[in-house]
Symmetry: C2
């Protein structure tokens, strides 16, 4: 069989440093298990924009990437020169564009961000029950608030009007909601296997092993809120074993802080999901540990993209200070995902995840640099 | 001089109960200080919708309310009958419409939600420094994501498309940002008077007493994000004594949990402000204490509207279980606001605020009903 091929795009700032540790872990796993795995590096830093004709990635970047089974991305965000007002010369809307281009170009319509508070991770909430947080936030990743339609009329004048269109299709709504229910079922099965159980109530008083909570702002953004609600009710009929629930996005943010342990699977729109996943990330210990998966579950010829939720942190770049933990959890999820093509990779992903988790649990308070953390995890894998 | 006149709209669920206590406190204050204050009650519950031709408020409701100096609103959200699927027959998008109608009709373009963690209020965050949270979230309340433009094409079919337009004007952007800077200045002056100081850094390294943090999602919603950023930079020139800062809305949510003490004044769009104010409310102890002010600072003939951030809580309505604390803090802010028309009311507002805060500080763990809490606070005022 052919090797599974990964495109590695380290990106900006601390990206190359944390990606370096990911590669070392991949090498350790490949050596240990003789994995049929290979990778290619595409530097493509944002500041290439300055030298090229206004593009950070080459024009045929998506074509090049399409040949791979997955994309492992470090971080984007220009760490380049700053102007006399202390602003980066390359605004985020440009340096982060490749991220949105990949999501769109490869129709990575699911963004999946699991939130669990692993031992060793920082707990921001006072309530001890917040230790038990175990949710999966599923973000619609292909349309909605992110369709980039709109503009500025009478730009720069006192009469200026800026518009932004939100576009939601029933097709994309159905598929993300159905995906949510399927994940809820899988998670319940997983838990039962591990001897853990949870219990959620349906509206008619039955008890279920899992739940999907739909997020909208249907009391103010009524049109797509109603469409989401109708799709949710319809699709829920196919999953009588999964409890359903709805929260408005503002109330959901509150409840993420007040009782995060009450959530299982959460399905949200592109922007609302963006907000909720950042909140979920901090509840699972912060950006230092949070992975993010941009998935195309339907087209095997479209690579999915894996990135830590954190940014490029230009202020600490190049000093070996970045914590590669989030990057390594991300790499583990990529391997688990690739398990659908080669089961040996799923096992390797689980092994990497467990090694990173074990390192995190024992790391308490230590001051280790990027390399030392990577080495500790490679050693665990080798041993 | 004429009396200051308040329109009281108790609304639904626990609304009438908590408003009852607000009225008792207003009576106590009026008696004690001989205030030139009067009020009129407009029941207008949402379920009137069922009996009328599809309206909860009478057709000329806004006309009626316009004659008043302020509106004190309990809570909206239909507590009425539910159908066989356990859904309220009146969806939120209908029962909450009066709220949005008032904001729009009276051009209440500022929504102001202060967040401080008062003694006695529940602390959700583990970090002790979160005790020091002292921010004011200012939400653009007149346009943006809430313009209600959009619809559903091919409704109910697999090819359905739902759209929602966001519209931002430079005029409304300028006024909300300028308002934010003015509040930052006022807050700094207030703090200096009280002998408290805070310190924020400008980009060029100077130290300021106050800060405004602008929220956008300009890396994805570029058009209005850029317009907000340009307006912010321009207006900030008029306020060299106020430090400026920018956060993306997703990062802001994280930082509200990780370091809420680092914020002073926060300015956000309608929807992003909605989300951030709920989060700020929970950081100041939850919905039980959070006031919300919908202000028109420019037109003295347009009444401002004051409501607790909490909802109508139909599940506990009619049982005297609701905590009136948020409603009473809200009433205090209304009086303080009306101080611009009659300084005696500002003093009464401060007195009410202090009485509610003192009650909260001493209430620890007690199980008191709505009436008992109201009585305790009235007694403080009378004594
Ligand atoms: C960088 C930005 C465009 C992106 C998003 O909003 O999707 C980021 O916040 C994320 O969550 O991956
Ligand atoms: C009820 C709803 C329409 C409202 C809003 O979104 O503005 C509420 O959440 C609020 O914050 O006042």
């Amino acid at each position: 069989a052919d090797n599974i091929r990964i495109a590695v795009t380290p990106g900006d700032g601390i990206g190359p440093e944390v990606v370096g540790e990911a590669i070392r872990c991949l090498e350790a796993l490949r050596a240990k298990h003789d994995l049929a795995l290979e990778w290619t590096r595409f530097p493509w830093p944002s500041h290439a924009w300055h030298e090229s004709n206004g593009e950070s990635m080459p024009e045929d970047a998506l074509e090049q990437l399409r040949a791979y089974d997955a994309i492992l991305l470090g971080a984007l965000g220009d760490p380049g020169p700053i102007d006399d007002k202390n602003r980066y010369l390359l605004p985020d809307s440009i340096s982060l564009a490749p991220l949105l281009d990949m999501r769109k170009g490869f129709d990575q319509w699911v963004c999946e961000r699991p939130a669990r508070l692993l031992p060793g991770a920082r707990q921001y909430l006072a309530d001890e029950r917040a230790r038990d947080i175990d949710m999966l936030v599923i973000r619609e990743n292909s349309e909605g608030e992110y369709v980039s339609q709109g503009g500025r009329l009478r730009k720069g004048t006192p009469d200026e009007i800026a518009t932004q269109m939100e576009v939601f299709t029933r097709k994309a709504t159905d598929r993300i909601i159905r995906y949510g229910f399927e994940q809820a079922r899988l998670r319940a099965a997983e838990r039962v296997k591990e001897g853990r159980t949870r219990s959620f109530r349906t509206l008619d008083g039955r008890t279920c092993e899992s739940q999907v909570c739909l997020i909208t702002k249907r009391n103010a953004l009524r049109h797509w809120g109603d469409m989401y609600t109708e799709a949710f009710e319809e699709i829920s009929q196919e999953f009588p074993d999964v409890a359903i629930h709805h929260e408005l996005v503002d109330a959901a943010c509150m409840k993420f802080v007040q009782c995060p342990w009450a959530f299982d699977v959460v399905v949200a729109s592109n922007l609302q999901g963006d907000i909720l996943t950042d909140l979920a990330a901090v509840l699972s210990g912060g950006m230092g540990v949070a992975p993010s998966c941009n998935l195309n579950p339907t087209d095997p010829n479209s690579p999915s993209m894996f990135e830590p939720t954190h940014g490029s942190a230009p202020d600490i770049a190049g000093q070996g200070l970045a914590d590669p933990t989030a990057m390594l959890f991300t790499t583990a999820r990529m391997l688990e995902w690739l398990g659908r093509k080669d089961p040996a990779l799923a096992a390797a992903g689980k092994e990497l995840h467990d090694a990173v988790a074990a390192d995190l649990a024992e790391s308490k308070g230590g001051q280790r640099n990027t390399r030392e953390i990577g080495t500790a995890i490679c050693d665990r894998i080798a041993s």
